[in-house]
Amino acid sequence: MLLTFLSHQWTSFWRSSGKGSVIAAQVIMGLLALYIIVVAILIGYQMENLIAHFLPGKDTVEVFNGMILYFFAIDFLARLQMQELPTLAVVPYLHLNIPRSKLVNFLNIRALFSAFNIIPLLVFFPFCILIISDDYGVFACIMYLLVIFSLMIFNNYAALYFKRISAGNAKIVLAGFFLLVTLGLLEYFKVLSIAILSNSVFHYVALQPAFGLLIIILAVAMFMINAQYLNNNLYIEELKSSTGKKSGTDYPFLDRFGEAGTLVALEIKLILRNKRPRATVSKGLIFLFYGILLYKKDVIDNNQFWMLLFPAIFMTGNMIILYGQFMFGWQGAEFDGMLANKTNISTFFRAKFLLLTISSTLLTIITSLYGLMSWKILAVQLAAYFYNIGIGTVIVLYFATRNSKYIDLKKGASFNWQGVGATSMIMSIPLLLSPYVIYIPLTAIGNPYWGLAGIAILGIAGFFTREFWLTFLVKEFNKRKYTIAEGFREQS
């Protein structure tokens, strides 16, 4: 029976698309997966040399042990973002004479077919087999393999379980996000380190292989919890999305902005209540960790602000960039109504400015936590903030008047190329390069602080001349509004 289900899945995969673009996307995804797998195998085989090369003088086994939990922590995050829930695959079988437990089994096994489940094995297994078995004996090696396999299983079902219970529940997502920020900060300030934890866990496994049983039990438990949850909730309605009664929401603080505020409230609802914009915006929150990777101490000490400028602009303005690149495609489905209704186009643009400014302000407040590293980061981020609200918004909205690609809000955001076109690609060039056009000459004739000040001043100037840009954008929009509306009507 399971094989029948799986063969149906296989056929549906090959027959579903019909449209060339979907197949092309699948091919690119396949190539990407292949590339990652090849890289994973190479890393796996060369692990010992790589560790010796990058971290000379350190004990390779210790470094390896330290990496494992790190890997799985990042793996978990990536899964939450990108792994698909295979639930709807089961719908056509629910009314047939098939026991529920079989369907649950099918869902669980189907969930294993994911690139996420191959990579950890490819990366870690070769090293275990080559090195661990030499150093600690065959039994320890087998336990290593089992533990890593169990962690993979645990992550797989934990991510799916978490996604299922948090479907559409913004509070859980927010709580998870803050947990991550806390963990990141703890790691940064060396209060608690995943690497040390990981190292001690696997050190223990190496010495006392039986200890590994604990992790295997954990993985089995996670599998059971997930299966139990599915068993109790195998109803189409409940699988699809949250079932709670939908009620109206108000954002009273937006009322003071009048009609533009009403439109912003509308767009916030668009983001929170639809899959793709929600995923896009929450993906943006993950980019807030860019700072941890890219704000390097020596760079800050040497005032090399050009290296900080890109992450600062991206973090304080990621909603402008990631969400803004598809404007107004998000509203493609209701665009005719928007135009025919008594909304003023200039109010419409005012609302976009307001939304992007609010988002950028919030992101700047959150990222000012990086100020704990150095006050210079605050200065860079403030300049980036002014740039984003004063200039970035105008650039994005200008390109929005040239974009007529409809976005299907119900689809996921990962590997989704719908709406990606020449305009959204070209847009990022002026958006990310123009700060450097200001910064580099000013730094050359003065110093890096002049560069930052130049960016900030131009941003503020853009902000205070907004009325001018508004008129300009409305004019641009009116030139092309029929084309835009027609593009959205095609919906493909």
Binding site: E259, T262, K269, D336, A340, N341, K342
Partner: protein, 232 residues
């Protein structure tokens, strides 16, 4: 004269979809627009709402070109298809949003919706669903009543009877008829249901391949005349 159309023409890839030399609509008329698929009804409505740019010609609403400024939006309400709904809102939120564009407070909207209780048949309000989760018929109800709520002088509905259940069709008909008497409202309705349009409308315009081929004031022979045309 609320609407005046001069030399209006729209062509898609050599196929003329709308070709109107001259058409006027007087205040207070209820006009039924009929014609087979491809006759250009929806394209005409979209041009009336400035959603499509005509190739040539102009549409004057109260003597002002609709493509030139937004004046017409103040007194025009419309529902053409689901593209006019915002499907991730609850119906209440949608009504309040539309109301707010016309300076109606939340209470105004609630009070106003009260009179639609019968039309809604208890299926629209307080249902705890987003508009996207409603059936097509119920989505239509939301769109039509939101258009009526704006108390327009010019109302444009594209196939309002489609997808509605029989009871609701009859209720909508009665309601549209009662509106024409009560205040100064000009209505344009397209429909494939000849019984309904001849019943509701005082004037029928028949389109074929974008051209007006009949323009009749409704009397007892109109239905017969139309049926003869369509069965031919």
């Amino acid at each position: 004269m609320i609407l005046e159309i001069n030399n209006l023409k729209k062509t898609y890839a050599d196929r003329t979809v709308v070709d109107i030399e001259y058409l006027f609509v007087n205040d207070g008329e209820t006009i039924g627009v009929v014609g087979n698929n491809g006759a250009g009804k929806t394209t005409l409505f979209r041009m009336l709402l400035d959603l499509i740019r005509p190739d040539t010609g102009e549409i004057l609403s109260k003597q002002q070109n609709v493509a030139a400024n937004d004046q017409w939006k103040n007194y025009t309400a419309s529902y053409l298809d689901e593209g006019f709904l915002i499907d991730y809102l609850t119906p209440e939120e949608y009504f309040i949003f539309i109301g707010s564009l016309h300076q109606m407070t939340k209470t105004d909207v609630k009070v106003y919706l009260h009179q639609y209780e019968e039309f809604f048949n208890g299926e629209i309000l307080d249902n705890g669903k987003y508009i996207r989760d409603f059936s097509k018929g119920n989505q239509n109800k939301v769109g039509i009543s939101a258009a009526l709520m704006q108390q327009p002088e010019l109302l444009i509905l594209d196939e309002p009877f489609a997808n509605l259940d029989p009871t609701t069709q009859i209720r909508l008909k009665t309601y549209l008829k009662s509106l024409t008497g009560s205040h100064k409202l000009t209505t344009l309705i397209s429909s494939h249901d000849l019984n309904h349009v001849t019943d509701v409308c005082s004037r029928i315009i028949l389109f074929e391949k974008g051209k007006i081929i009949k323009d009749l004031l409704t009397d007892k022979n109109t239905l017969n005349e139309l049926e003869t045309y369509f069965s031919g």
